[in-house]
């Protein structure tokens, strides 16, 4: 798994690539935690770009769920961009459909952070 971080219009975008298995979940947790810690209160806007993620295991899914909780505690929001591979079906299987906002278009995803903040 590789993760590239970029900022766009106040949203931190994590471009994740590969398979999130084994110890990758811990690495991903550390990266997200760092972004959440660095964000100002109420401004933890994080978009996980999963377009190039082929597979995620239960640990990886658990980290994404934990991030959702951590970001909300800081008054922010986390959204998923193009969840492909097995992630889409895992979200359905784990009954997390109503938890995560999912987008196919990056511009639409970024705009959604401002809609939800206003």
């Amino acid at each position: 798994m590789t993760v590239d971080i970029r900022k766009q219009e106040g949203v931190t975008i994590l471009d994740i690539e590969g398979r999130i298995i084994g110890s990758d979940s811990l690495a991903l947790k550390n990266i997200i935690d760092e972004q959440v810690d660095d964000a100002k209160e109420g401004n933890a806007n994080i978009l996980l770009n999963l377009a190039d993620v082929r597979m995620v295991d239960s640990s990886g899914l658990g980290i994404i769920v934990a991030s959702y909780t951590a970001v909300r505690k800081k008054g922010g929001r986390i959204a998923l961009l193009q969840p492909g591979g097995n992630i889409r079906s895992l979200i359905v299987m784990a009954k997390l459909v109503t938890v995560f906002d999912r987008y196919e278009d990056e511009g639409e995803a970024i705009a959604s952070f401002y809609k939800s903040n206003n």
Binding site: I21, G22, D57, S58, S59, V65, K95, V99
Partner: protein, 143 residues
Amino acid sequence: MGSTTEQIIRLDLPSSIQQVYLLDTIILEILKEMDFDEETSELVSLAVIEAGTNAIKHGNKEDWSKHAHFEFIVHPDKLTVVVQDEGKGFEREEVADPLDPANLLKSSGRGLFLMEACMDSVTYNKSGTIVTMVKHKPLSDKQ
């Protein structure tokens, strides 16, 4: 050795979470060799990764002196995967339901559920140290 219609592949891994990457590579190769379609392969590889992670992390507590043992039994129409750890075992009934509304936002506890959702059958031995999983090839893939 098995009969002429099955092939058995055995693998013993030391109990490090890093070994999951090797396990991932091996199961994907076996599934490719068996001509499983991509979608089914992803389900089976996820179940095997979950079982392997459980054996290494929860069963053997990542103790390097212990091993996780894998047996891949390749049949013409199905794959059977047996995973054994050297831990104390567990009771399936005592593992919380991750779909219970109280558990939905928990960061862990979905591994067994996903294994059972991805495979055709998942059974545990009495002592909770061996899990046996079976996946049949989809009808369209059969010769």
